[in-house]
Amino acid sequence: MNGTARVWWERRRVWLPATVFVLTGVALLAGYGLALAGRLSLQAGALASRRGQLEELQRKRQETEALVGRARATRAAIDELYVERLGEESARLTAVMIEVKKLARQAGLSGVEGINYNDEVVQGLPLAKKSIVFSAQGSYDELRAFINLLELSPSFITLDEIRVEDAGEGGRLQLQVRLSTLFVVPDFQPAAGGKA
């Protein structure tokens, strides 16, 4: 053993505790790295994963609630149209008939006598379409006035087709007008089918 080594050995009480102290610190850090750091990392990963899951659920829930809101708004609008504008045939038919004749008279059309009605059930929906076909006589201006009155009418009457022929009496026209309206079918039972 040379001199220096002998001196270090003889004075080991000076440096050995410090060395042990350092080694203990290193061991503690190594233990942290091996055990706790991994655990914390796993926990952070689990938390991030759950947050992602939560965000996905929130997005899906918001979409679904928006869809439900839209569906309810659409349903409400449809029901309002049924109640406020269309109504049942028993409640509205005579009013429609009277209104068509009144508008024709108001516009100056004459000869509104034979009115044909055709019913057509709208398949799968609680609605029936009634076509109203009639002939009349009048001038071009009277025809325009009738169309204008029909457009301004609050009733749900649609003008589907107009046919005109020269009546040969000083610019008089023979008109054939096809109108249609919709009625709500009471107690409608939809055919069995899958829901959306």
Binding site: F21, Y32, L40, Q43, R50, R70, I78, A196
Partner: protein, 240 residues
């Protein structure tokens, strides 16, 4: 005798200063390491606990979201969306027909009809038969910003008929006129059947008008029609 120097130390001299310096450095390094380790252990102890609490919070939120999602899905499942979509589509088309601007059409036709041509019948059609989409339903006017019109009429001569076609081509309210049939009547006039696309809102509105997405195309989620029947008030041409 001075030649041999006397050595009074009991032991030979040894320089212990480096040893002490190393020991001091080791104590300092050890203290730093212990400090860092202590900080990390302390932080991880509270970090793990805090993490657990956060995970528990998020789990509670997930459970609450699931309950709300289930409730919304149950509400959605309780609605017959397929039928409602069919109703909305049908009614929307009928409302658009109701809003068809007949008066505006007559004004626009008056701009293009030559004096020697008269129309006999006029009927809007749903879809353009030239595109193979015609249906027996009348027009769903504003769904695509244009409506196909079928007209029959009579022209006094060939010039009047070609004049009508030229005017239709030139007029901004009409598009792609076609003359599938013409025949000379016994009285010398030329009877014709004419098809033309009418643009109730003008060409710009026709270009911008969205086409209603068919229900069949949509996924169940996206199949709800947002357009409600109250769209009548937005009738093209403001006829109503």
């Amino acid at each position: 005798m001075i030649g041999a120097a006397a050595n009074l130390a009991s032991r030979p001299f040894a320089n212990t200063r480096p040893l002490r310096r190393v020991a001091l450095a080791l104590w300092v390094v050890g203290a730093v390491l212990m400090g860092v380790a202590g900080y990390l252990y302390w932080r991880s102890l509270f970090g793990i606990e805090g993490g657990r609490a956060q995970i528990a919070d998020v789990d509670r939120s997930i459970a609450a979201e699931r309950r709300r999602l289930d409730a919304a899905e149950a509400a959605l499942a309780g609605m017959d969306l397929r039928r409602q979509n069919a109703e909305a589509t049908y009614l929307d088309a009928r409302v658009r027909e109701r809003a068809f601007p007949w008066s505006a059409l007559f004004e626009h036709l008056a701009q293009v009809l030559p004096r020697k041509v008269r129309l006999v019948s006029l009927a809007p059609q749903s879809g353009d038969p030239r595109a193979g989409t015609r249906s027996r339903r009348p027009a769903s006017v504003a769904s695509a910003g244009r409506v196909y019109l079928q007209m029959t009429g009579a022209a006094a001569n060939d010039e009047a008929l070609t004049d009508l076609l030229d005017r239709l081509f030139a007029n901004r309210w009409f598009e792609r006129p076609t003359l599938p049939t013409e025949h000379r009547d016994p009285n010398g006039t030329i009877g014709f059947v004419l098809g033309v696309s009418y643009l109730p809102g003008g060409p710009r509105a026709a270009a911008a008008a969205p086409t209603m997405a068919p229900v069949e195309r949509a996924t169940p989620k996206a199949s709800l029609l947002t357009e409600t029947p109250s769209s009548e008030s937005r009738s093209p041409g403001g006829a109503r």
